[in-house]
Amino acid sequence: MSGFISSSIARKVAMALSALFLIIFLIIHLAVNLTSLFSEDLFNELSHFMGTNPLIQFAMQPVLIFGVVFHFVMGFVLELRNKRARNVKYAKFNGAASASWMSRNMVFSGAAILAFIVLHFIDFWIPEINTKYVLGDMSGVLPGQEGYRYFEELQHKFFPIWRVAAYVVAFIFLGLHLAHGFQSAFQSIGFNNKYTKCVKNLGVIYSIVIPLGFIIIALYHHFNH
């Protein structure tokens, strides 16, 4: 079993499984955020539920954070190891002749997404954790105000154009990452059969719809503030 864990294929499968987990997470994240476009109350209710439910907060959230950290660390480790497998570089290497830009630059799109996640955590996650677990305010309301604070915070965050621009750029990189990553995850776990064409098409749709959904949300709240 120790040989298995350190094998190239096990690493590849681990990357794929964490990727599939994150792919599912993105659907849930987008679904919750989309409610903010048409119902302030529903978005507030859902946000409060997600932010205070013990199962989500203390079981699913740590698993998610582990999944994100694992995917990034493993991705960078594999990239470094793969770089070492070619100790002398070609004087001329025409990578574009045989593989897409997305597939050859997963580490760069991944790094861009990592930079975005740092910003995203500073914007939303850290203040949230601070309010709930450091200051101990689990009410979800601001002092002296009525109703939950989440929708207002969302709109406030998307007021500065620089943040909207940064989010849009990051989501474009997310789309590029997913354009290769979605079908690649299936290939890595050994799923390549008569349904592969369907998976590839689904990957194209997913890599456009998910980032576009997040972009629309950011733009909507910027222009409707």
Partner: protein, 247 residues
């Protein structure tokens, strides 16, 4: 046609190599790429210079010996061919052509454009075979019913000539297309199933020990493979490996 060639010259495995420029003139567009190299070498011999060392054998695309990374691609810009099947008509008069050896830590340069591909042999020796009784009572292979699709897929995988273009084209220098073809050709047949688990475990271990990189599914290997070995084989190898290691 007149061409400028930029060719990797390296005296030996421990020597430092470099790209050296050569001019060739009056090259016929009907020549194969290796014939053009022969013409260059003859001119070098006439000038009392050391000819360029490069691998070649059958010169009809079946032995897998010829290599050469030409203008940034293994076996040059054409598809589904080896270097010996590449013709000079692919290029234009006045072109500059870069000619380099396969680049991978697991394929060290022996001299000039020749690399040591024994890593592939060691992977094969680790499990790329079936054990059969050759005492004279060997069962006729045709007596074993095999679904046509499996037989075809196995034959497709067996078309791999072990040239190493997959490693050379991969940005990670991964050998997974080669290994998966060798795993698949047996895994698909009843004769190969008996040793399937040990085979895939041992071959993958040897592949990792040799220092090849890890596959990131860019698909470059499939595009550059002269024999059209499919990425489906890598997925099959992954399944075989997971089955052998977990179940």
């Amino acid at each position: 046609m007149n061409l400028t060639l930029k060719i990797w010259r390296q005296k030996g495995p421990q020597e430092k190599g470099q790209m050296v420029e050569y001019k060739v003139t009056d090259i016929s567009e009907h020549m194969s790429f290796l014939e053009m190299m022969d013409v260059l070498n003859e001119s070098l011999v006439e000038k009392n210079e050391i000819p360029i060392a490069f691998d070649h054998d059958c010169r009809e695309g079946i032995c897998g010996m010829c290599s050469l990374h030409i203008n940034g691609e293994p076996h040059g810009p054409d598809r589904g061919i080896t270097t010996c099947q590449l013709h000079m008509r692919t290029f234009k008069d006045g072109d500059t052509i870069y000619i380099e050896p396969w680049r991978a830590k697991a394929f060290p340069v022996i001299k000039d454009l020749i690399v040591d591909r024994m890593a592939f042999e060691r992977i094969q020796q680790a499990g790329g075979y079936i054990s059969v009784n050759t005492s004279g009572n060997t069962q006729d292979a045709n007596a074993i019913p095999i679904p046509k699709l499996d037989a075809d897929l196995s034959m497709d995988a067996a078309a791999c000539i072990g040239c190493g273009a997959c490693v050379a084209s991969c940005k990670n220098s991964s050998a997974m297309l080669f290994v998966s073809a060798k795993v698949s050709q047996f895994a698909l047949l009843p004769q190969g199933k008996i040793e399937a688990a040990d085979r895939v475990r041992n071959m993958v271990k040897q592949m990792d020990d040799e220092g090849f990189g890890n596959c990131t599914n860019t698909g470059a290997c499939e595009v550059e493979c002269p024999k059209g070995i499919s990425l489906e084989n890598i997925a099959r190898m992954n399944r075989e490996y997971l089955k052998a290691s977990i179940i």
